[in-house]
């Protein structure tokens, strides 16, 4: 089979392209495929996707924010929007206000429920649980689901009792 684009070289790369819900199969030689993939990357690079997601912020605030620089690594928000990658861990704190909504759009959540680095396992896990439960409690009360609310309230109490400092408690270890 010859390449669909140049019609000269044998097709070695096989692509499926979906445009407007239409699926096209493309059979390309290595050279044309490389060109095609760089075109596709330009159109749909991950950094563009992220940039697209960040672009819903208000523009006046955005201008001010664009020049904000991370003290940890010198990356500006503008840099982040351009390259789609943050510069260091501290960037997350520096750009917190804008990253919160972005994380929400990507993951549908802004509260980590997974594991934590070894030394802080206990404390943080409970803190996160209570935070989340309080939110659930509020929602339950708002929607007048009182039975559910009572259940959540008891759960919070239980966690908080467990957390209250005991003599020789191991929270600081």
């Amino acid at each position: 089979m010859l390449c669909n684009i140049c019609g000269k070289n044998p097709a070695t790369v096989h692509l499926t392209e979906i445009v407007d819900n239409q699926m096209n199969e493309l059979h390309l030689c290595e050279e044309c495929a490389r060109e095609k993939s760089s075109q596709m990357e330009q159109q749909f690079g991950l950094s563009d996707l992220l940039v697209g997601l960040t672009q819903t912020e208000k523009s006046s605030e955005d201008k001010e924010f664009a020049n904000l620089k991370c003290a940890g690594c010198g990356l500006t928000y503008k840099d982040f929007k351009k390259i789609g990658r943050l510069g260091c861990g501290e960037c997350y704190t520096t750009f917190k206000k804008y990253l919160g909504p972005l994380l929400k759009r990507i993951h549908g959540s802004t509260i980590h429920h997974g594991k934590t680095p070894f030394l802080t396992v206990k404390v943080t896990k409970n803190k996160v649980d209570v935070q989340e439960l309080r939110q659930q409690l509020q929602k339950a009360v708002e929607s007048e689901a009182y039975e559910e609310a009572a259940r959540i309230r008891d759960q919070i109490k239980e966690i908080e009792q467990k957390q209250s400092p005991e003599p020789g408690g191991n929270e600081e270890k």
Partner: protein, 350 residues
């Protein structure tokens, strides 16, 4: 361990064992981790990248499961070696580009591998044969805990582990399952399955990860969301989806066996015949035909070779593996000859 030692062993994930190994080739979990106080690799300067590599290298002896592990510096490997490691799924394609201060740690069973200075400081993965994400997680979790004792990780209590790209923040976890779905493809049901997967926030990729086309009826399915659900919930979500896909593939195989048995046998035995008799064969054709032979083994039509032999052939016939076997760089045409020769040898009943 030297890279060449790997050539003569079967990677853990290719053994063809584990739950549902008639459909699930392998299960893989990876974690993204970064060190506090260092910029992420793309934003760090050379000295910082070197310090990151050194810090992780120093921690290796204390990391669980890495007693018999080797650290390779990517800049010290040649192109064929790097391609060879990609083909064995021990590292990403991206890791083989711009190799300064990049490292790769592999344990001698090829279960655990850790990329240093890829997109994040640390990308640790565990691969298992069959449908086995929880087992992979059990191993990787221990690796992670022992790493955390040695290396201070960038972490915020509300956003979890911090990563260069916000799409990986939170757990930093990606679970992937590699599936072989020939029946769903033959009956053209696969597009419905893929559309459903996309709606559920999972991604589908080909055999070689990001940006690759599904060849030979293989698909990798993984979670997209890493912040919010716990590691256990992420795995349970993937497992739920994979179980449904397995069920559909099994049902479809059964329907094909009852309604079009002769057509199916014809396809499978022809493929087997070509592979056993070809003197030159491309990589693409090999993958497609091996996929059908694997189906034949799974359905009990082909009994004189094992699933493991077929799995091994998928990897041994890749370009860098062929060149490693020949111990030199060979042209594409020579590779096609060599590939056919190896397949003939392996498929001939001893």
């Amino acid at each position: 361990m030297k890279i060449n030692d790997l050539l003569h062993q079967t990677s853990e994930w290719l053994k063809g064992t584990g739950p549902n190994s008639d459909i699930v080739i392998s299960s893989r979990i990876r974690l993204a981790r970064n060190l506090q106080k260092f910029p992420f690799p793309h934003w760090a300067n050379k000295k910082q990248n070197r310090d990151i590599l050194d810090a992780v290298a120093q921690a290796v002896p204390a990391i669980e499961g890495l007693k018999n592990a080797t650290l390779f510096k990517l800049s010290e490997l040649d192109n064929i070696d790097r391609q060879f490691l990609i083909e064995r799924h021990l590292m990403s394609y991206e890791h083989a580009q711009k190799t300064d201060f990049k490292g790769l740690i592999i344990d001698d069973e090829e279960v655990i591998s850790i990329m240093i200075n890829e997109e994040d400081h640390i990308r640790a993965q565990v691969m298992q044969s069959g449908f086995n994400l929880f087992e992979a997680w059990g191993i990787l979790n221990k690796v992670d805990e022992s790493m955390a004792r040695e290396l201070p990780f960038a972490f915020l209590s509300d956003w979890g582990y911090l990563t260069a790209c916000p799409t990986n923040a939170g757990t930093g976890m990606r679970g992937s399952v590699m599936l072989h779905l020939p029946a769903l493809i033959m009956t053209r049901q696969i597009n419905q399955v893929l559309a459903a997967i996309a709606k559920l926030s999972f991604t589908t990729r080909g055999l070689y990860g990001e940006g690759t086309q599904a060849v030979g009826n293989f698909f990798q399915i993984s979670n997209q969301i890493s912040l919010g659900p716990s590691e256990k919930e992420i795995i349970e979500n993937i497992n739920g989806l994979i179980r449904q896909i397995i069920e559909q593939e099994l049902q479809t195989r059964e329907i094909l066996m009852t309604k079009s048995k002769i057509m199916l046998e014809d396809k499978i035995y022809r493929s087997f015949g070509i592979l056993k008799s070809a003197y030159t064969i491309s990589s693409q054709e090999t993958t497609e035909l091996l996929s059908l032979v694997r189906l034949g083994v799974d359905l009990g039509m082909i009994r004189d070779i094992t699933r493991r032999t077929v799995n091994e052939l998928f990897i041994l016939t890749q370009p860098a593996h062929l060149q490693k076997l020949e111990n030199k760089k060979i042209s594409s045409q020579e590779r096609d000859f060599k590939r056919a020769e190896i397949i003939r040898q392996q498929l001939t009943v001893k």
